[in-house]
């Protein structure tokens, strides 16, 4: 091992200056984001759904991969903070002209961007941007990862934690099942990082072996919370006595081929039905990052049932993103 790298998300004072991943964040910072989000939550109920915190600041939504939902929630969050929001459809424009990712960033920094919200198809792309900003001495510009490849989707992970805390109050003692395509899921990685940072008792990764990465059991090795990660191939066994069930979206292109034979067989083995949910605790909550594939990973009876908290997740997501945007913008002061 050569020189230990400094965590690029934290500035010299240990403040959060970029949100790139939940992995490697101290527990206090994660809790601080959730606490701050609670204060932002009521703003959506006001007559004027806006606070002047980021007035005059520019938030650039840089989506190298299309995602209307995530982009919209970031846009609402930034606008409720009074920031100017600029949406760049980079999936179509500059990169197709051969401009590199970092050229794009340099150009936007020259336009006085204050914060970049970045979605990219390649794991680690937001790290590259953050490093580039540091290398070129532009520490006042912040990066928020809105999903990179299979790596991380930290604001989704945080809003999932917000949801769990809202319904379960305390993380210790919780058994949380994460079901589905963990191999390709940045949501799953961020959830696992966050759950182990916050110290749940047990994380259960449930799925067929083609959709589970190796070494899942070691994924929380960096944290000292004592959270256990267990892998289940049998969904019924994995759901038994769980407090929280997080269902993952199965991408269309993975439904047939070498990973899975068919959507129908996937639903039979790993779809969440009322019968399977009955194996979890009676007060278990069901979460899903959306958009849902009804009848593939989740039965409509569960998705619309009283244990589902999928819509509250969406409204909590705005408050969490407001908290993240304002905390990073306020760092280094």
């Amino acid at each position: 091992m050569t020189s230990a790298q400094r965590n690029p998300q934290l500035n010299a004072n240990g403040e959060l200056c970029h949100l790139l991943s939940i992995g490697g964040l101290p527990r206090e910072i994660v809790v601080h984001i959730l606490d701050t989000a609670e204060s932002f939550f009521e703003i959506s109920d006001r007559d004027v759904k806006k606070v002047p915190l980021l007035r005059g600041k520019s938030v650039f939504n840089l989506f190298f991969e299309n995602s209307t939902r995530t982009r919209t929630t970031f846009e609402i969050a930034a606008k409720r903070l009074s920031a100017d929001v600029i949406n760049l459809d980079v999936a179509r424009s500059s990169t197709s002209k051969g401009e590199t990712l970092l050229d794009t960033i340099d150009n936007l920094v020259a336009m006085h961007a204050d914060t970049f919200v970045v979605r990219h198809a390649t794991s680690g792309a937001p790290y590259l941007i953050a490093e580039h900003l540091a290398r070129t001495g532009r520490d006042e510009v912040h990066v928020v990862n809105a999903g990179d490849g299979r790596h991380a989707h930290p604001t989704q992970g945080l809003l999932d934690m917000y949801t769990i805390r809202h319904y379960k109050k305390d993380f210790s003692g919780l058994k949380v099942a994460v079901v589905g395509d963990i191999l390709h899921s940045r949501v799953a990685r961020s959830d696992i990082d966050a759950l182990s940072t916050l110290g749940v008792e047990e994380i259960r990764a449930i799925g067929p072996r083609t959709l589970l990465p190796p070494h899942l059991e070691e994924m929380n090795s960096a944290c000292v919370s004592g959270t256990r990660v267990r892998v289940f191939n049998d969904m019924s066994e994995g759901l038994r006595d769980c407090d929280v069930v997080i269902m993952l979206r199965l991408q269309n292109e993975r439904m047939t081929g070498a990973l899975l034979p068919s959507a129908r067989e996937y639903f039979r083995c790993y779809g969440l039905t009322p019968e399977k949910l009955a194996l979890a605790k009676a007060d278990a909550i069901v979460m899903h990052p959306g958009p849902m594939n009804r009848g593939i990973e989740i039965d409509s009876a569960v998705a619309d049932g009283n244990q589902a908290v999928i819509l509250p997740q969406v409204s909590f997501g705005i408050a969490v993103r407001m908290a993240v945007l304002s905390i990073v913008a306020g760092s280094g002061k």
């Binding site: 091992m1 050569t2 020189s3 230990a4 790298q5 965590n7 690029p8 790139l20 992995g23 490697g24 590199t100 990712l101 970092l102 990219h120 390649t122 794991s123 680690g124 792309a125 790290y127 590259l128 580039h132 990179d148 490849g149 299979r150 790596h151 991380a152 940045r186 990685r189 990465p213 190796p214 070494h215 899942l216 070691e218 994924m219 090795s221």
Partner: protein, 418 residues
């Protein structure tokens, strides 16, 4: 021209010599290695070099160095004490035609620096479909044939390539990599890739390929050298084949003896290698195998521009520069693993020469006077300022390394001095 190098610590791995000696060169060859009190006849008025506190060993032999800017990289090799090197065929364009090989050899001979031995492409354009004119390429100077790190997914083509090479007794150097299992992979399929969401390259991408190639080599009788072994299981397969009497050689890149997957940290593209850095246990197994002599060591020198490294991890180009780091990293490896210097340096001198089929890498009288003279105590910082190579991509950037080349001789000519 006569030269007397006096009071040096002389390490000659082939003869297991590690002692204070005088070394005498005449007419580009080693004339004598003597006790420090002795000066042979005719050397009284030779050019004197006082080498007290310095170490003299055979010039290093590097089994793999990519030389995009040939003259500059050969100068970097000289600065790294390297006097002989093999150049893989994945140049632009690939070395699949005799005229390309001749031009490359001509330019390297003009430079008067390290002896450069090209490897010819095994298939045209390294595409893995049609064989190259191996006989013509060998006549032009190719020392062996290889796909470099390009895949050869068609086993039938591989089988025929080995048969054809065996017809003429040519060596085939192969990187064991199953193209489909390694497809789109960017890192070892282990804990780090799982955490960072990087597409993984399983160890089986290496072992499946080793098993296939070993079987085909047995069937065809081809002379086989396996390059850049990266895993403990790969080593185990090779050991077993050797125990069964199969004559195969293999090598490892110096970085794989020092680093493992944890080096990636937060997507550090300087830790992107092909084959990938694997687990700590794999690194330990490679180190043990290299210490035993199962593996020779090479720099796998691969200059990559900033543009090739300032990309998201999976899109970044793999590789690191190594010409000037090979010696200090071998010294560090020897120190960390408590390996005698004669053993450690053998892996980059006489062992490598044997793989290339050359009478080189030793200090016997009559051998070509290819020497590396270095200060084993000198420490220096690796970085853009201290490296001559065009590429600055190294995971050791900013680190203090011990052991620095002072002089390099090729055929008795001083080609580098600090």
């Amino acid at each position: 021209m006569k030269i007397a190098i006096k009071n040096a610590r002389v390490v000659d791995p082939r003869s297991r010599l590690d002692a204070l000696r005088n070394l005498f060169l005449a007419d580009g060859r080693i004339a004598a290695v003597t006790e420090v009190s002795v000066v042979p006849e005719g050397f009284a008025d030779a050019r004197q070099i006082n080498a007290s506190n310095l170490l003299v060993c055979p010039g290093l032999i590097d089994l793999c160095a990519r030389l995009p800017d040939l003259e500059n990289e050969l100068a970097a090799a000289a600065a790294g004490g390297i006097t002989t090197l093999a150049c893989p065929p994945d140049t632009t364009p690939p070395l699949d035609e005799a005229r390309l090989v001749e031009r490359l050899r001509h330019r390297s001979e003009q430079s008067g620096l390290a002896r450069m031995f090209p490897l010819g492409a095994l298939t045209q354009g390294l595409v893995g479909e049609k064989l190259t004119e191996m006989v013509k390429l060998a006549n032009a100077g190719c020392i062996a044939f290889s796909q470099a790190s390009a895949p050869l997914p068609d086993t039938l083509v591989l089988w025929r390539a080995l048969q054809y090479a065996a017809t003429f007794g040519f060596s085939v150097w192969l990187r064991p990599k199953d193209a489909r299992l390694a497809f789109e992979g960017a890192a070892h399929d282990g804990a780090v890739a799982a955490r960072l969401g990087l597409p993984g390259i399983p160890v089986s991408a290496e072992t499946v390929a080793i098993a296939t190639v070993l079987q085909l080599a047995r069937d065809t009788g081809a002379r086989l050298h396996l390059t850049r072994i990266s895993s403990a299981e790969g080593i185990a397969l090779i050991r077993r084949a050797r125990e069964e009497g199969q004559a195969i050689t293999c090598d490892v890149g110096i970085h794989h003896l020092h680093l493992d997957e944890s080096e990636i940290g937060y997507f550090d593209t300087n830790a992107r290698f092909d084959p990938p850095l694997r687990s700590a246990a794999d690194r330990a197994a490679l180190s043990a195998a290299a210490a035993e002599g199962v593996l020779a060591i090479c720099s796998d020198h691969t200059p990559v521009s900033d543009d090739g490294k300032h990309l998201p991890f999976a899109e970044a180009l793999p590789g690191a520069v190594g010409l000037e780091l090979l010696l200090p990293l071998v010294l560090r490896w020897a120190k960390q693993e408590n390996i005698p210097l004669t053993t450690a340096l053998a892996r980059v001198t006489c062992d490598a020469a044997a793989i290339l089929g050359l009478d080189a890498g030793h200090l016997s009288p009559g051998a070509a006077a290819d020497l590396c003279i270095f200060d084993p105590q000198a420490s220096w910082q690796a970085g853009a300022q201290t490296l001559r190579t065009q590429g600055k991509n190294t995971p050791f950037s900013g680190q203090t390394l011990r052991g620095r080349v002072q002089m390099t001789f090729i055929n008795g000519q001083l080609v580098f001095s600090r």
